[in-house]
């Protein structure tokens, strides 16, 4: 299993947006600043445990929705609105992960890891969906797929799936070789979800 986990497609996280992510069991807040800088943090404001993925991006900072605590791109708390004159101590810091994008995919790894994220260059990102079933159910539906860890290639369709364990199931981040096939691959994914979930129930 790769240390880098796909957490979505670049096209789904424009500047100024925050979303929830996951690195194995850890819940994350992933956000892109106004200038385009990506960050992935533990999804928890150190103050009162509120999910930072519910927060809001202003410029190069992410604010918690609960009390408006402002965090800079290094994860350090910059401002506590209840105490406007106070400089927050450096110990107030979000839990920072590495977050990069390559080939239109957003990849996350723990801070200490020294390796490169996979690069699916040359492919067209299509869409992320979540399967409410496990890898076994997916494998039964994608009989011809070639699995390399969390990357599953589906030659018949010219599609690649980057898999991600998410809170609600198995994230499938889909890319394809032929940009003209985006709609077809997107619809094919809907069918994959239905078949795999029906199979898992049967």
């Amino acid at each position: 299993m790769s240390i880098w986990i796909a957490n979505g497609l670049s096209q789904d996280l424009p500047p100024g947006v925050v979303m929830a992510g996951a690195w194995r069991g850890a819940e994350l807040a992933i956000w892109r600043s106004a200038s385009g800088r990506l960050s992935a943090w533990g999804d928890r404001c150190p103050h009162r445990g509120m999910r930072l993925s519910h927060g809001f991006v202003r410029g190069e900072t992410l604010s918690c929705i609960y009390h408006g605590w402002v965090y800079g791109s290094d994860g350090g708390c910059r401002k506590i609105p209840a105490h406007p004159a106070m400089v927050p101590p450096a110990t107030i810091k979000a839990e920072v992960y590495q977050c990069v994008e390559a080939g239109g995919v957003i990849w996350v790894a723990p801070a200490a890891v020294e390796s490169d994220a996979p690069d699916l260059a040359g492919l067209t990102p299509v869409r992320s969906v979540t399967l409410r079933a496990d890898r076994g159910a997916l494998a039964r539906v994608l009989a011809g797929a070639v699995a390399e860890g969390d990357l599953w290639r589906v030659p018949a369709l010219g599609a690649v799936l980057a898999l991600q364990d998410r809170a609600e199931g198995l994230g499938l981040h889909a890319l394809c070789h032929d940009a003209a096939q985006r709609v077809a691959v997107s619809r094919w994914l809907d069918g994959v979800l239905r078949l795999a979930e029906e199979g898992a129930l049967a």
Partner: protein, 218 residues
């Protein structure tokens, strides 16, 4: 125009939101839906025999279906700009009833203790969200943001509340990237107003300037 209103109702919010976007001033009358169940009272049923909220009254006109109220409040460009678009708007208005019967019921169950099969509500809700996300994804491939055509319509306003409030009923929205961007686009519309459970986009306001300390205001 007078709206018989309940602050936590997704359907009432559709009307408040539409009026706000259109710049129409509504006079609202709060109806004690919970805990008083005043919408089931004889008095209220003399206005709306179905005993449902919202109700919109304009002179002699009494409307009791929220989709009809959206039509009444909308400027023409919000109704679809061709026969095909108008028909697609109708499709999504019908879809919004499915959202109410699934995500809407899950929310009433989890929040206000309404009876019902919560697992069935949630399963049906996830089906709806997947259909919506698939449609919005294809719209984005074509460079569009909203449900029908290039601009927002009453279809968006009919669907937005029960979708945005899905987490109130235990159905998460993290798995639907195109719904997330669509929801942000709606919340960024000029005149947008929120309701409890739907936060406004604080980022639309710049970071605040310093103000004098609180003690100087005492």
């Amino acid at each position: 125009m007078k709206l018989y209103d309940y602050v936590l109702s997704a359907s009432c919010y559709k009307i408040r939101l539409m009026a706000a976007l259109m710049g129409v001033k509504l006079q609202t009358e709060a109806v004690d839906f919970h805990p008083g169940r005043a919408h089931r009272s004889a008095d209220f049923r003399s206005l709306n025999p179905a005993g449902t909220l919202p109700v919109l009254v304009d002179g002699d006109l009494v409307l009791t279906e929220s989709t009809a109220m959206l039509v009444y409040l909308a400027r023409p460009e919000w109704l679809g700009q061709s026969a095909a678009e108008a028909a697609q708007v109708q499709q999504w208005l019908a879809f919004s009833a499915r959202l109410g019967a699934s995500l809407g019921m899950a929310r009433l169950h989890d929040m206000l203790l309404y009876p019902g099969d919560i697992d069935a509500f949630r399963r049906a809700g996830v089906e709806c969200l997947r259909e919506l996300d698939a449609h919005l994804t294809e719209a984005r491939f074509a460079g569009r943001t909203y449900l029908v055509g290039d601009t927002p319509t009453i279809a968006d306003i009919a669907c937005f509340p029960n979708v945005a409030l899905a987490p109130d009923g235990g159905v998460g929205l993290d798995d639907y990237p195109s719904i997330r961007l669509w929801s942000r686009a709606i919340r960024a519309l000029p005149g947008f107003i929120e309701m409890p459970g739907i936060h406004r986009l604080h980022e639309l306001k710049p970071a605040p300037e310093a103000v004098p300390p609180l003690e100087t205001l005492l």
